[in-house]
Symmetry: C2
Subunit: 351 residues, 2 copies
């Protein structure tokens, strides 16, 4: 399997990843190598890491898994642990986990002593195809997702599809949503093949998604323009995810589950405002509802979700900017949406 080049870091898959990491560590002169895990990756992924990768780790740091722990309190614990274990500017942090862990680990590394090196080894499909690529790091501030963070690239991203075997089906499906998004915003052929396969976690699909995301990020690392298309489904998806996380009567959604809903809603907006054909809209809705159970939002839920939109970081000057589709494979950025259409989008999702 080939490696994917990027501006300032490399993505390696499978056997190449193992060799690349070993060579990199051998030629570096890190003072200490820290490995961060959560209770799940410690149990299911660390043994694979130790057997397959065989890099000497000086200290393992453990955090609690889950979006609810992706916050500054957890960062303080990790900064403290790095300090107490003699972490210094020449230390390396390897993040072994899903998107919560790689986002938080990247932020902790980027800010510890004004920045130490880090490497991401994503263990979920979502983190492989999305979170660990592109240099966005950060944590949540109360209900506001990724409100605090920096853009900073890891030294390497290493992909071992073997870790996917450790995942529950629900976690795998969550990653599938982001992969389908890559097709929707950039590649209609990929969308078609992906929505008709059951084997979306194989190395070829993972690599295709990484390539699409990486191409977009390389064109616009700091998200001034084209990179925004990666936010398709996320403007409403983030608000839905935040709302369900905070709301006691709603089941917490995985990121992919929330943006799957967001993509149906924003596909409706695309049809209304940007001419996305009706047939494409139906195809998108059918595809996502086949894999993601419909959530029954009531009026109060929808009101609360729309209130959260105001705080979303993609907003500017109080306006809400959406990424919409003109066609499958063709996205447009910075589209303003009238309020009444948002309610109609939720009605369409319920139908």
């Amino acid at each position: 399997m080939d490696s994917v080049a990027s501006h300032s870091y490399e993505v390696h898959l499978e056997a190449l990843a193992q060799a690349a990491l070993q060579q990199y560590i051998a030629k570096s002169s890190y003072s200490k190598i820290f490995l961060m895990v959560d209770e799940n990756t410690k149990k299911y992924c660390l043994p694979i890491f130790e057997e397959k990768i065989g890099v000497q780790i000086d200290q393992i740091l453990e955090i609690q898994s889950g979006e609810a722990n992706k916050n500054i309190t957890t960062c303080v614990k990790v900064w403290d642990a790095l300090s107490k274990n003699d972490g210094d500017r020449k230390s390396l942090l390897i993040n072994l986990g899903g998107g919560v862990l790689t986002d938080l680990g990247g932020f902790v590394a980027s800010t510890f002593q004004r920045g130490i090196d880090f490497i991401n080894i994503p263990t979920t499909l979502l983190a492989m195809v999305d979170a660990s690529i592109g240099g966005k790091t950060g944590v949540d501030l109360g209900p506001l997702k990724n409100q605090i963070g920096v853009i900073n690239q890891p030294k390497m991203v290493l992909i071992f599809p073997e870790f996917l075997k450790t995942l529950e089906p629900r976690q795998r499906t969550s990653g599938y949503a982001e992969m389908l998004k890559h097709g929707l915003i950039r590649d209609a052929v990929y969308w078609n093949s992906l929505r008709n396969t059951n084997d979306y976690g194989d190395a070829a699909c993972v690599q295709k998604s990484i390539s699409i995301k990486n191409d977009i990020v390389m064109q616009d690392p700091t998200e001034k323009g084209v990179r925004k298309i990666l936010n398709f489904g996320h403007t409403l998806g983030h608000a839905i995810e935040s709302y369900c996380l905070e709301s006691p009567q709603r089941k917490t959604l995985l990121h992919g589950e929330a943006i799957a809903i967001g993509m149906i809603l924003e596909a409706y907006l695309s049809h209304e405002l940007k001419g996305l054909p009706r047939l494409s809209l139906e195809e998108i809705k059918d595809t996502f509802l086949k894999h993601f159970e419909r959530v029954d939002f009531d009026g109060h839920d929808i009101d609360s979700i729309l209130k959260l939109l105001r705080y979303d970081k993609k907003n500017s000057h109080g306006n809400i900017n959406f990424v919409l589709l003109q066609a499958i494979g063709e996205a447009v950025i910075d589209v303003k949406v009238p309020d009444n259409l948002l309610l109609k989008a939720f009605a369409y999702y319920k139908e």
Copy 2:
């Protein structure tokens, strides 16, 4: 007074600063302009800012002054306040205060929604000649100074020597220590003129110090090499500052007061290890003791200070690297110092 060019930001003094800020704001399209103050700069500097500078501020944010508040808890309060007042990616944060405020404000801005623009208006001599120049931002983690932060340049640094009139003498003297350091590490002529003047806060001296620091930072923005010379006096100075801050029986020292002691100690090490002439060593000690009262450290104090050294962020691989002087105006980096010499340096300081 001239402006000082830099890689990615500009430093403007006096009348030029006022014009530069007004022009910059006029041609920008910020969604909201936030101004951060503490209780002191709100009282003494904000009226001058409003009268002199006349830029429309949308929201004033107030933090508590002092090193003890330069921490993540204060950052969370400011991040929350930015969020609640509709701060977004196109907001601007203007930091009006001393080094604690500009360091913290720079970090908060660099990490809010993965980075918004900020401008520093330092109000203390120390912040004018040191903290606000060079892009180092950050906060303390417990007793560990600047343990958490990033390197990120402000859009502008604006210097109004008029603010110095609002300072207590002790605060002015603290800034004087950093100015003397600029002479010691880079410019023997400046050192000589500066140690013989009582008017070190005038615009010409401030500008000379800014130029020296800026030249060094431009050569090495990320502190891989020459920039380290700015840490002369800081390896021991930081440990002394942290110790006195945490220790109930010791008076808290201002930053300049702590590094003045650090510079005497490290001048002694320079004499022992790098051939700094005895006469130069005496001249350095006499100059600092003329302005900075000697602190009477006992054996327990010294033990505790040396323990804190281990945690200092300039250390690597457990070794303690010092910046020392070969001569006044000539610094060398990455010098290892045997433990017994550290005790002798404290003995020399006591003599």
